[in-house]
């Protein structure tokens, strides 16, 4: 057992010793969870995994809104008589211990009947007796054992029990079922033995095959007919046109053949073709259950807020929890420490320190004073405040962004894939060949003309062609996923190859949120002064103070005789004879302010100015190299919502040709990309926060960089784990490689078509030839494409690893 880490959550142990039953803990919270679980005989939790838990967040009254019945009911999946079922999203679910403890919840609360975890979606569904316990109690219980559920506005608005779309699975089942049975029935006739029993029963066999094929044509293949019709209506000869034509001709000719006893028909090829095509479709559909590519501000905003109401008669105030959409102008809201500001409002009471980094891209929290306007989306970091509402949720500055058309229009209404592009010429040439061949036979042997015409359309049905793309891109999708680059669908990979400009956000994208580097400049501090500083910072909850506090060495604890924190300025503290001022330049008496754009904490002790600690963003490792590599092939731009404080550093770090823009608001970012697109540029946006949401939606490919793929990310086309940001050039190269592999496989499928066309044009197409040629070409294309993409991925992605050591 690791003795330096908390037994519950695995964090490093603090200096104070917190232990229970000879196990060590980092905090009281972890110890409480341990004691609770042990007392309830749930100690196996710690035996399945080492340190599986999470630090519980102290429960205050943040779940009080669940007392409001209309809110709570909206969250329930099922609620009748005594039984209620609720499904909660719990980000911390990560190991088998989590599953075990969450499925044993009934041992902790008698009202809970059963609970079931969906591990990949990180969801917990709980069935409970609503007479014995309540949703609030359950959520509080989960929170107290370190499994805090995330309940956001999205849970309120999303309609529950949305039916899953199983149609592709059903279709695949129908086609597979029919294919197997038809193969079995058509087998005897492959050998063309005019044997007595075969002659006697072949009609029965053939009609059975016909009935097995019916649902395949009508149901399983329906998407191809629909898509072909849609394509023709828009004057596009997409790949589904020759496929639908092939299926149709196969079915009609086979039916005629068995009706008039001309032959066996091609039911085996028909069902096989549809089955293989659907397998390809299924393979291309790689979904990441634990990720969402469609989120908007709703999954970031809280579901309820606390409204303060003044009773008319008495001078008393009452608090009530109301649903966020009920918030109206002039309401007074209470925003607690760590809460999100849900609407545009003005500050009425309290010390506001707002972190807008996720909304605007500004890296530092800002201080606001009474009467200042606060925008929706910021996070309050300094105690509770009271605010007066200016606008409702949808009318707020940030949320109005989602009303823009970039979010409404389906991105590419007339999207043409590479295969559709080829299929135009393919369809035209096949039709020409079919007509020419049947014209020839009309003069030569008219009885065979119709036979040849249909044979050409059957054999040319581009099954192999249609399979190349789904398998190449589907395989690429999985390879990207393994390298923590989660792409929404196969179309995005193709789109990646067309990109010519890349736009980066700064804060949170190329810088990390986790670390800032702090450098001291000025007169060196003595040990005594450092001790003063550490003790002065101890009492402050300003995020910069916390950061600075964390890096200073441990010192003895002193109690201040006098302590003042002046909002927006800094701290003043007196320890016996010594006096220290920490904060802004002005506050500490430094009148020659330099570098005002950069964040710094200035120090003054006993009336003499000492110096300042400067905070700079830490750029992710390898950013200069990344930009240098990309700069050779793409137009690069940095578009930041932050001020220009980092301009010089960026200029010195990155190639000269990179354009830098600062102070861009969310909608300006969107417009910026729009202008580029109007210049016929294909734009890829790489961002992270809500402030990039508009730009991500407008861009051709929007990629979100995320430290933690479970955390909120705005709607996008792909999510990239932050640690893999340096692999972007490799991913782009791989996408291009995948496309050239598809192109080469197209050539291969033409070879098969030529062989097939020889049989078709000469009028020798036997069902058995079609039944061999079609699966052979399909399977070999699939193998070719999969092997080649794997090989390329190995070459490009693993070569990187060896050079990096």
């Amino acid at each position: 057992m690791d003795t330096h880490n908390c037994y519950h959550c695995g964090n490093a142990l603090g200096t104070a010793l917190i232990s229970s039953a000879d196990k060590q803990f980092c905090c009281q919270g972890c110890k409480t969870v341990f004691e609770l679980l042990t007392a309830n005989n749930l100690h196996s939790y710690y035996e399945l995994e080492q340190a599986p838990g999470a630090q519980p967040r102290p429960a205050e009254d943040q779940f009080n809104y669940l007392d409001n019945e209309s809110i709570a009911n909206q969250l329930l999946d099922f609620n009748e008589n005594e039984i209620s079922i609720v499904t909660l999203y719990i980000p911390h679910i990560h190991c088998s211990s989590c599953i075990w403890i969450l499925e044993n919840l009934q041992k902790l609360s008698s009202g809970i009947r059963s609970s079931q975890v969906d591990f990949t979606r990180k969801k917990l569904s709980i069935t409970y007796k609503n007479t014995e316990t309540s949703l609030k109690e359950i959520v509080t219980l989960l929170n107290s054992i370190g499994y805090e559920p995330t309940i956001s506005l999205e849970d309120y608005t999303s309609t529950k029990n949305t039916k899953k779309d199983y149609s592709l699975l059903y279709k695949l089942g129908v086609a597979g079922f029919a294919f197997g049975n038809v193969m079995f029935l058509s087998f005897p006739e492959y050998f063309e033995l005019s044997e007595f029993w075969l002659e006697k029963y072949k009609h029965l066999f053939r009609w059975l095959m016909f009935f097995f094929s019916l649902p395949v044509v009508i149901y399983a293949a329906s998407d191809y007919f629909r898509s072909a019709y849609k394509g023709l209506k828009n004057h596009i000869l997409n790949i589904d046109v020759p496929i639908a034509l092939g299926i149709f001709v196969l079915f009609v000719r086979s039916t005629l053949e068995i009706s008039f006893d001309w032959g066996t028909g091609f039911f085996d090829s028909l069902t096989g073709l549809v089955f293989f095509l659907l397998v390809g479709k299924f393979f291309q559909q790689k979904t990441y259950a634990f990720l969402s590519f469609e989120r908007d501000y709703k999954s970031y905003f809280p579901i309820a807020v606390t409204r303060i109401q003044k009773n008319k008669n008495q001078d008393r105030y009452t608090e009530e929890n109301i649903q966020l959409y009920e918030v109206a102008k002039n309401d007074i809201l209470l925003i607690r420490h760590g809460d999100l500001i849900p609407v545009d409002c003005t500050l009425k009471k309290g010390n506001a320190l707002i972190d807008y980094s996720f909304v605007t891209g500004e890296s530092d929290a800002v201080t606001k004073t009474t009467g200042d306007k606060l925008y929706a989306g910021g996070k309050q970091l300094n105690g509770a405040i009271e605010v007066e509402v200016l606008k409702s949720v949808e009318q707020s500055y940030l949320t109005k962004l989602w009303g823009k058309e970039a979010f409404n229009a389906t991105k590419k209404p007339t999207y043409i894939t590479i295969i559709d592009g080829i299929s135009k010429y393919f369809t035209i040439s096949i039709l020409t060949i079919a007509i020419l061949a049947s014209l020839f036979w009309l003069f030569y042997n008219p009885t065979k003309a119709m036979n040849v015409f249909t044979a050409v359309l059957i054999i040319a049905c581009p099954c192999a062609l249609a399979l190349a793309r789904p398998f190449a891109l589907g395989n690429m999708l999985r390879i990207f996923g393994k390298h923590q680059f989660y792409v929404k669908n196969a179309d995005v990979i193709e789109e990646l190859t067309k990109i010519d400009s890349i736009i980066f956000d700064k804060t949170g994208t190329i810088t990390t949120n986790k670390e800032t580097s702090i450098a001291y400049q000025g007169v060196p501090l003595s040990v005594k002064e450092e001790r003063l500083l550490k003790n002065a910072l101890r009492g402050s909850s300003h995020p910069l103070s916390r950061k600075l506090y964390d890096i200073l060495e441990e010192h003895d604890i002193l109690t201040a005789d006098q302590y003042d924190e002046i909002i927006g300025q800094g701290i003043e503290a007196k320890f016996k004879k010594d006096f220290i001022k920490v904060g802004s330049a002005l506050h500490t008496g430094n009148l020659h302010v330099k570098n005002q754009l950069k964040t710094a904490i200035h120090i003054q002790t006993n009336d003499s100015y000492k110096g300042y600690f400067q905070f700079t963003n830490t750029y992710r490792k390898g950013i200069p190299k990344l930009f240098n590599t990309l700069n050779n092939y793409y137009d690069l731009t940095i578009l930041s919502g932050d001020n220009a404080g980092e301009k010089k550093q960026l200029q010195s770090m990155l190639p000269k040709s990179i354009k830098l823009y600062f102070n861009h608001k969310p909608d300006q970012k969107l417009e910026f990309i729009k202008t580029l697109q109007q210049q016929n540029k294909k734009v890829m946006m790489i961002g992270d926060g809500l402030n990039d949401a508009g730009a991500l939606a407008q861009s051709d490919v929007g990629i979100v960089v995320s430290e933690d793929t479970n955390a909120f990310s705005p709607a996008c086309d792909a999510i990239l784990k932050a640690s893999e940001i340096n692999s972007i050039p490799n991913f782009l190269r791989l996408a291009k490689a995948a496309l050239s592999i598809i192109k080469s496989s197209v050539f291969l499928s033409f070879v098969y078509n030529l062989i097939g066309l020889y049989f078709a044009i000469t009028g020798q197409l036997q069902p058995v030839i079609a039944a061999i040629l079609m699966p052979l070409s399909s399977i070999s294309i699939v193998l070719y494409v999969t092997a080649l993409t794997n090989w390329k991925a190995n070459k490009i992605l693993n070569a990187k690893k060896t050079t990096l050591g």
């Binding site: 399945l48 995994e49 079931q116 990949t120 979606r121 899953k164 049975n181």
Partner: protein, 64 residues
């Protein structure tokens, strides 16, 4: 040889039964979560100390 009718109908009926079972399993959501049951079946009511090492390795590979 008319036994072939019996054989054929039996084979078709068996095939249809399995096909129907597939449809029902899809509809009931058996394919919704294909991962969690694989862990759940390994839990016992009372766990012993030595089983912890194995399950740890397994689930770490799948943490992603």
């Amino acid at each position: 040889m008319s036994v072939i009718y019996v054989l054929l109908s039996v084979s078709v009926v068996v095939a249809i039964i399995f096909f129907a079972a597939f449809l029902v399993s899809v509809k009931k959501g058996q394919y919704d979560d294909t991962y969690t049951p694989s862990i759940r079946m390994l839990f016992e009511d009372e766990l012993t100390e030595h089983s912890s090492g194995k399950s740890r390795n397994n689930s770490q590979n799948n943490q992603l």
